[in-house]
Amino acid sequence: MTDVTVAALPAPRSIWSLRFEKFRGHRLAMYSLVFLAVLTAICLMAWPLSQYLGIDPNKTNLLARFKAPNAQHWLGTDDLGRDVLIRLMYGGQVSIAVGLLATFLMTVLGVAVGVTAGFLGGRTDAVLMRLTDCMIALPLIPLLIVLGAVDLTKLGLSAASAGSPLFIFLRIVIIIALVDWTTMARIARAGAIQVRDRDYVRAATVAGAKRRYNVLVHVLPNISTPLIVAATLTVGRVILLESTLSFLGFGIVPPTPTWGNMLTNAQQLIISAPHLAVYPGLLIFATVMAVNFVGDGVRYAFDPRAENEGRSH
């Protein structure tokens, strides 16, 4: 009965290994990925390094302001005698964490909205997509500033918890996710509509699958490709948004360092210490640029048009 020989089948090879191979071919993306990995590793070294050098990142030392780079302070000190390098590293942790967390959150949000709209269709779809259009229409930064200015004690939160650094951090993550989930929603919706009408979903339905099963088992894995590409590019935008917001004073506030609020501080010191304006900005730029290149690489790697795999009937 068996009329297909095993030898005729290609060796099993996951689509991921193929993609990784393509990604490796995108040189800028590869370099960027290495850069980001190194940067993240360095930022994560902040605590051990500060222990090793005997530095407390928030400890001010007025006798050691604007110190030139030396054995203890590798990039020198700032206007309050704090170590610039360690603060940059902590700031990097914040930026990267906000970037990843907010992207994750907005992916969840966008996918929830998009898949609901795409899979249910009809009036739900119409309403949700109008909502998405509205959000897209809004200028992001002014909206973020309002959200950043919202007094959480008016929402019943205690003043102490509203002012805690962790809460301020989460608040940034949440408000960025709240205003920027629309791209994800559109992609998820388009994907969901496509997958919804695929025969494999129909076959599962005939076999007794409910909506939940189809969404989880069929829709989500099949729209993951464009979502991963979009998410990568989003990380860069989020880092930029966070730094802009912190720079404008509606983001993460001192003494917690971020690249954005370090620039606010540096803005005041451009006469006495113009170099302080260089590092954080350069890091934001390099990080966002690298993330965008990686995004471009991922897009290239995932692009089916660039796929060599032929489909023969």
Partner: protein, 556 residues
């Protein structure tokens, strides 16, 4: 080919644009002053703050003002009243208490910008409005001190004071009756009057101004333009135009100063910070003139004494001992702004040399804390017997870099003494309103307070000056400090009519303050101004705004 032409064109255009700046000759008849914080409203006597005083006095002069030697001088009047010259006298009130009569004569030829003479009618009108609680003047020397104004003639009037006050000879600006009275009559409450006042609806009306300059043009949030008042009877102004150019933050002001966009800038408040001035001075010692004088404006931390931690004077002393104020002023101000030991600076003639002072002493601070029952816990932060942590919130205004820096330094220094501080930077409006005036802060708030020669320290220390609904939330005793000894000393101060009496009262006030420490004094702001070097005849006064002498300024 086309590309090359376009490129050449672009280069040419760039050169023209760039060279415009290099070649532009400074206009010597104009002074461009950079400022922070555009006026919320232009009315000279409502919602008055330091920033407004820096502006309004170009065009509207007070009756009297202190000069650079801290001597009270006549601006609109002929002679400063005193008990010695007989223009002021202590009289018996019908109910047996003592009152005062103070006589002024307006200068000959004083005139509003539209040519209408300034007369006693304007004084009567201003007094009437200034005593009307619904209008709510908030000027520095309240008109409500006088119960009535007796008109002698067009230029002479007598102010009748129901109480003896030491500040009897200090009086602020007057308003033009011919323009503002109809508006006041139609709008008898603060809300609508302020909105309808010509100062806000049409501030370029010449008749609103009686100083050497008047406001001729303005653009909201951006600039104010002052030009000479043709009816000013005094010296003809040396500048034909003063432009107040508003910038968002002090670093923008600094950039504009360095790029030659602005010619002068006040140093905090209302301008660049003192440390920014030092930065500029360090790099460009000759490019600008640096006018620096001692000031009376005190940066201090008020403490909520209702907080059980802070009600213990030992804790307050420990806090002050753990803040290295010398290091702060040395590092941030090169020591050019003086550390404050109390309410008055060491250079004041009334300074009390005998009182207790608190220089940085961490060991003593720790000892005091343990005496007060606070011992370091596992994480280095003190706890008391009940297990409470020694943690306090320090709030100050957002956007002021010096304050934010100092707050972070204090946070860091107090942690050495086992005190945990969380910092909070709030917008100015919120700070002044809810936090300070409504006393909604739990721990520490940092801001400045100015004790002018005519202002009683009662506003910050009197037990009746704790802001509450009874006194309509006036008063600056944000700590909630109540001391009978202090109240008695303040009574003496308020009725002192001679320098000796005043000095004795000040001595007592300062000693009591040093014992009780109701506030933590940090440093005194210097009065400073940075200008192009060709600005001459620039007088800098300790207390009153230098704009009172703006007609004397020249550029050569």
């Amino acid at each position: 080919m086309k590309m090359k032409k376009a490129l050449a064109g672009a280069l040419l255009a760039a050169t023209v644009l760039a060279s415009g700046g290099v070649q532009a000759q400074p206009d010597k008849s104009t002074l461009v002053v950079g400022q922070l914080q555009f006026l919320t409203n232009f009315h000279p006597l409502i919602q008055v703050n330091n920033t407004k005083r820096l502006v309004v006095n170009y065009g509207l002069r007070p009756i009297t003002a202190y000069d650079e030697n801290v001597v009270n001088q006549c601006v609109l009047c002929d002679q400063v009243p005193s008990l010695q010259n007989g223009l002021a006298e202590v009289v018996d009130n019908p109910d047996g208490t003592k009152g005062m009569r103070v006589r002024f004569t307006l200068k000959q030829g004083l005139s509003w910008g539209d040519g209408t003479p300034v007369t006693t009618k304007d004084v009567v009108f201003t007094h009437k409005m200034g005593s009307d609680e619904k209008i709510g003047f908030s000027n520095y020397n309240p008109w409500s001190r006088a119960s009535s104004v007796e008109v002698v003639d067009d230029r002479t009037f007598v102010l009748v004071l129901p109480e003896v006050v030491s500040s009897f000879a200090s009086w602020d600006q007057i308003l033009p009756v011919h323009l503002e009275e109809p508006i006041y009559a139609a709008n008898p409450d603060a809300e609508s009057y302020t909105k309808q006042s010509l100062y806000n609806t049409k501030p370029t009306t010449p008749g609103l101004w009686n100083g050497s300059f008047m406001l001729t043009d303005y653009q909201i949030g951006t600039r104010l333009i002052w030009e000479p008042n043709p009816h000013w009877p005094g010296a003809k102004p040396g500048l034909s135009r003063v432009v107040l150019s508003y910038r968002d933050n002090s670093s923008a002001l600094m950039q504009n100063l360095l790029s030659g966009e602005i010619d002068a800038v006040p140093v905090s408040p209302g301008g660049i910070s003192f440390s920014q001035m030092l930065d500029i001075q360090g790099q460009n010692p000759d490019k600008f003139s640096y006018h620096i004088a001692d000031g009376t404006n005190l940066e201090r931390i008020a403490m909520n004494l209702d907080n059980p931690i802070l009600s213990d004077v030992k804790v307050r002393e420990a806090l002050l001992l753990s803040i290295d104020r010398n290091a702060i002023t040395e590092a941030l101000f090169q020591g050019k702004q003086m550390v404050a030991n109390g309410l008055l600076s060491n250079t004041s003639p009334y300074y009390n040399n005998g009182m207790e002072t608190y220089s940085y002493d961490l060991e003593k601070a720790k000892a005091l804390l343990s005496e007060a029952g606070w011992t370091p816990g596992a994480d280095g932060i003190c706890v008391n017997g009940k297990g409470d942590r020694l943690t306090l919130e320090l709030a100050t205004t957002a956007g002021n870099q010096t304050r934010e820096q100092i707050a972070q330094v204090i946070q860091s220094q107090l942690s050495e003494a086992c005190v945990e501080i969380s910092t909070k930077f709030v917008p100015l409006q919120e700070y002044n309103g809810e936090l300070a005036r409504k006393r909604q802060f739990t721990g520490l708030i940092m801001s400045s307070i100015d004790f002018s020669p005519s202002t009683s320290p009662r506003i910050a220390l009197g037990s009746n000056r704790v802001p509450n609904s009874e006194n309509k939330f006036t008063g600056n005793n944000f700590s909630g400090y109540k001391s009978e000894a202090m109240d008695a000393a303040l009574d003496k101060f308020d009725t002192a009519l001679s320098a000796d009496e005043t000095k004795a009262a000040w001595t007592e006030i300062q000693s009591t303050f040093a014992q009780d420490l109701p506030m933590l004094p940090l440093y005194f702001y210097a009065r400073a101004y940075v200008s192009v070097p060709d600005l001459t005849d620039f007088r800098q006064s300790t207390y009153d705004p230098l704009q009172n002498f703006a007609e004397e300024w020249h550029r050569h």
